[in-house]
């Protein structure tokens, strides 16, 4: 399997504060990864930086996609290459219907039963937490991406919807060898998926990599994130 995404010693600042303190991460084609970590550990900043949000300044390190360095690429160029991110809290775009946005961004026609009622509403405006996740999902699928980062796709979804969303992700992305990175605080979605690797981020660094998410979750439950550094697994610590 060829390497799709490669992050080398990435350091990132936001408002003069260092958030990411030397991230190394690789994702191969078709790989499914998880990234766990407490609030404020830098998970979302990493996702936004991979997609090129200019709010976050890369102070050192590099990002490669399909062998090409993209560290300085604007977001739209990264999206065109096949990178995409489902936002944790997507902003509302007033006056723009979801169907209108899909008409502008879509590379393929996608129909999701759950999204039908959202199409004629303004993007994310007064959407419930669950509706926002469905809206993100249909946009991502319509982009026909090569790599998707889901930032807290499992927050705000009830168990039934979570199962539905997992099924769609498996059918439309994982089964089609799209690489997927799940950023999750509680790890609810992980039980519906088969993961290749689980990473733990703490204070801007990935401190643990393990093929067994259950063990990682168990340790987190037992010791808490703050004690992750003393994790007895020491699995694949970078």
């Amino acid at each position: 399997m060829k390497t799709l995404l490669k992050i080398e010693k990435l350091k990132v600042k936001a408002n003069e504060k260092e958030i990411l303190k030397g991230i190394n991460l690789q994702m191969k084609e078709g790989e499914v990864l998880a990234l766990l970590g407490p609030n404020g550990s830098g998970k979302s900043v990493m996702a936004q930086t991979i997609l090129g949000n200019p709010k976050y300044k890369v102070t050192s390190g590099k990002i490669f996609f399909e062998g090409k360095e993209i560290t300085k690429f604007p977001p739209e160029k990264r999206a065109k290459l096949g990178l995409s991110l489902a936002w944790q809290s997507p902003p509302a775009i007033k006056g723009v219907k979801l169907s209108q946005l899909l008409g502008k961004i879509s590379r393929q026609q996608i129909e999701i039963k759950e999204a039908k009622d959202l199409l004629e509403r303004e993007v994310n405006l007064d959407f419930s937490g669950g509706e926002k996740k469905i809206s993100e999902l249909i946009q991502i699928l319509s982009l026909s991406p090569k790599l998707v980062i889901f930032d807290e796709i499992d927050s705000g979804l009830d168990i039934k919807r979570l199962e539905t969303v997992s099924k769609i992700i498996k059918k439309e992305l994982i089964a089609k060898s799209v690489s997927v990175l799940f950023i999750t605080h509680w790890g609810q979605i992980l039980k519906f998926l088969k993961l290749d690797l689980t990473n733990v981020m703490l204070d801007g660094k990935i401190i643990c990599k393990s093929p067994d998410y259950k063990k990682v979750l168990m340790v987190i439950k037992k010791y808490g994130y703050e004690k992750c550094k003393r994790c007895p697994l020491l699995a694949g610590r970078p």
Binding site: G52, N53, K55, K94, V96, E122
Partner: protein, 303 residues
Amino acid sequence: MDMRNVKGVHFWQVDHKIKNIAVVPGNIILSSSQAWQKFQWVRKYFEREPREGYFIWIKKEVDFPLATCINIASPKISQDLTNLLVIEKGIKVKANVVCSAIKNNLCGRHFAQGKLLLKSGSSLEYNHLHQWGQKDFVSPDYEFILEKGAKLLYTYKNLLPPENLKLKTTIQSNENSSSNLSFIINGLNSKIGIEDTLLLLGQNSQGIVRLRLVGRKNSQIKAISKIFAKAPGKGHLDCQGLLINKTAKISLTPELICQNKEARITHEASIGKISEEELNYLRMRGLTEKEAIDLIVSGFLKI
């Protein structure tokens, strides 16, 4: 709408020449100067004998929108229009009104004075679309008179502004009448002055005025939006500006004047820039910065 799309237009003028006046059975459409000659009563609505413009008198309801189209097609034309629209009691009308220059560089002048009389219980949906060239000077001054129980839904839309636009609008709202006004203006290389006044003159008169103003490159927009309550009515101003270029300037002045202790008039006003978060969100979906700005602006201008 321009000269290529005038099918179904009931009054069509190009430069100073009337190209077409349609017959609408039961109703009267004339040039303003013909109306001045034919009907003595219209004279009180014109300040002087009109040179050009239209007179539309709706006496019988029609099930299609009335349409007028005034174009500037030749260089350095100066139009001086006086328009009068009268809607008889209890009649519902929809009107689509277009004023435009058919080229970008004609250096035209378009002065328009309009009076619109909505008699008791009548209702008017008035869609006013302007499209001008970069060197035009445009000055419309419209007055709506709403008699008892009349209803007005007015939308002024100008996405291609002239170099200089002075837009004045006055609403006289009498007993139980209501108005809903929207001004949607996209400023680009233009100086724009907007002055709208809603006069609440009768018991239970009510109105809402919405302004959506976009300041693009080299645009200066100054808007004064007023509600003057002389009677126990209700009114609200909702003024919003969006600055998307550092060479643009928007000034918004909402003004509430209350002369009746039973009246309730309110306002909200804001000017802001495009949200970086929204912009980055759309760029991550593959839109360029320009495409993302255009989409956000198009959404902002939708009311």
